[in-house]
């Protein structure tokens, strides 16, 4: 089944949400009872999925290879700097080659689909699924077989990270201005950030931080640092830090 119309409606709702902070939704979830004590686990950081581009006046996404490369460089540096402060050993995943590499990429996309479903059907209270409404419930996962990916045998958790930034074009910003005058909420830009921790013994998603409007311009080293701090806000086992402001990333 496909949902073109619903996607539009969801976009409209997100626009409304962005325009009305009163509708603010949850951004972090964890499996009930999950605790990660510092210095007890080996976490493998999977290769982050990073995409940057422009958002046309009509809201369509146009990927930009230069911006994406710049963001990859900045985020890699920011992640390397943050890795040591997470309370547990975090090591970068040694990418396999060939068919295994394609399987790793599929798992990354599965993580994206799961994180998007958590946002749409659990964090967004107005659209929560009845089976996800039960008290202290956070039942999401990638399946036990994720632990069988090459190179994960000695690890306890896999850390998946996704960022996708659609910077509003001038036309989009002008549209936003006129829409605001007509009292209609139109977002200029999407600044999606997901960070999720998966238990490699069970395949369960034990912690997720996911937001469609994160802060920090990933094309700028300081902004990438801010994005990474926001992605790791509330990371299990991490020493407590001052919260990072959730102001959406600057438009380009």
């Amino acid at each position: 089944m496909v949902k073109p119309f619903r996607t539009l409606l969801a976009a409209l709702c997100l626009s409304l949400l962005a325009a009305a902070p009163a509708f603010a939704q949850e951004k972090t979830g964890a499996k009930p009872g999950f605790v990660l004590k510092p210095g007890t686990a080996r976490v493998v950081l999977m290769r982050p999925s990073i995409l940057v581009g422009a958002q046309s006046t009509g809201g369509m996404f146009e990927p930009n290879a230069d911006w994406t490369d710049q963001a990859k460089e900045n985020l890699a540096a920011a992640l390397a700097a943050a890795q040591t402060g997470l309370g547990n050993s975090v090591v970068a995943y040694a990418e396999p080659v060939g068919a295994d590499s394609a399987r790793v990429a599929e798992y990354q996309e599965l993580f994206d689909a799961v994180a998007s479903s958590v946002i749409e059907y659990q964090f967004f209270a107005g659209n929560r699924l009845p089976t996800k409404k039960r008290k202290d419930q956070f039942e999401w996962g990638l399946g036990r077989e994720v632990g069988a990916l090459p190179g994960l045998a000695n690890a306890d958790y896999a850390l998946f990270i996704t960022t996708e930034d659609h910077f509003g074009s001038t036309g989009r910003k002008v549209l936003q201005l006129f829409a605001a005058m007509a009292n209609v909420g139109v977002t200029a830009g999407v600044h999606k950030g997901f960070a999720g921790l998966v238990d490699l013994r069970t395949g369960d998603l034990v912690w997720l931080n996911a937001d469609m409007q994160m802060g920090g311009d990933v094309c700028d080293p300081a902004g990438a640092g801010k994005r990474v701090r926001q992605l790791f806000e509330g990371f299990p086992g991490k020493p407590v830090e001052a919260p990072v402001s959730g102001t959406p990333a600057a438009v380009r």
Binding site: V2, F5, L9, L110, L129, P130, T131
Partner: protein
């Protein structure tokens, strides 16, 4: 009209706009026969499902366990001749194929494939197996397929059962990513499909 009342109305209008995506998702309990897709089609689920408030089109409805991108069970309850399977995406430039009253059961997988090719852009779609299987006591078809969405490498699998009865198309589809999710709810889908009555 007082200003307060008008403000209230504007707020309501905002909710009304947002409503279709937020329209109540409801719980479908196991073991009870329920009518689906605003039609005479009824099924008995073996486990609980969530019925999504948003429908893919007229005479259809979707159930899910974890969200329609992770597991999607959709019922098409008697789509009339001349109508597409679901809502048009770009009617002017890329109209969806239409149901025909004279369709053979082997035309059903072709209709689904062509509808998805339009709706999902240039995504890949492959019908893997087609076999006759009675549907609610009528001559029907069962088929399996695999596809991926545009700009995605995540492989999705699907299984469907359907029939053309009195010139209308009845179809039940189940789709999920091949990794983990497909197998997780496939037995629950088959229990629903095997319980179908008209």
């Amino acid at each position: 009209m007082s200003i307060t009342y008008r403000t209230g109305l504007s707020a309501l209008a905002v909710f009304a706009l947002a409503a279709p995506a937020m329209a109540g998702n409801t719980l479908i309990p196991p073991g009870l026969r329920v009518a689906v897709a605003k039609s005479a089609m009824t099924v008995v689920p073996s486990i609980e499902w969530n019925k999504l408030g948003a429908r893919p089109g007229r005479n259809s409805e979707s159930w899910t366990q974890d969200g329609d991108d992770l597991n999607d069970l959709t019922f098409y309850g008697g789509i009339e001749a001349g109508r597409p399977l679901f809502r048009e995406v770009d009617k002017k430039n890329q109209p969806l194929p239409k149901v025909s009253a004279t369709m053979l059961i082997t035309d059903i997988p072709v209709l689904l494939e062509n509808s998805y090719r339009v709706a999902l852009g240039a995504a890949s779609f492959k019908v893997d197996l087609v076999e006759p299987l009675p549907f609610a006591g009528n001559k029907g078809v069962r088929f399996t397929y695999s596809f991926s969405k545009q700009n995605e490498t995540l492989q999705r699998r699907g299984e469907a059962r359907g029939a053309v009865i009195a010139g209308k198309l009845y179809l039940i589809t189940y789709e999920a990513p091949g990794l983990y999710y497909y197998d997780r709810s496939a037995a629950a889908f088959r229990a629903v499909a095997e319980s179908v009555r008209l």
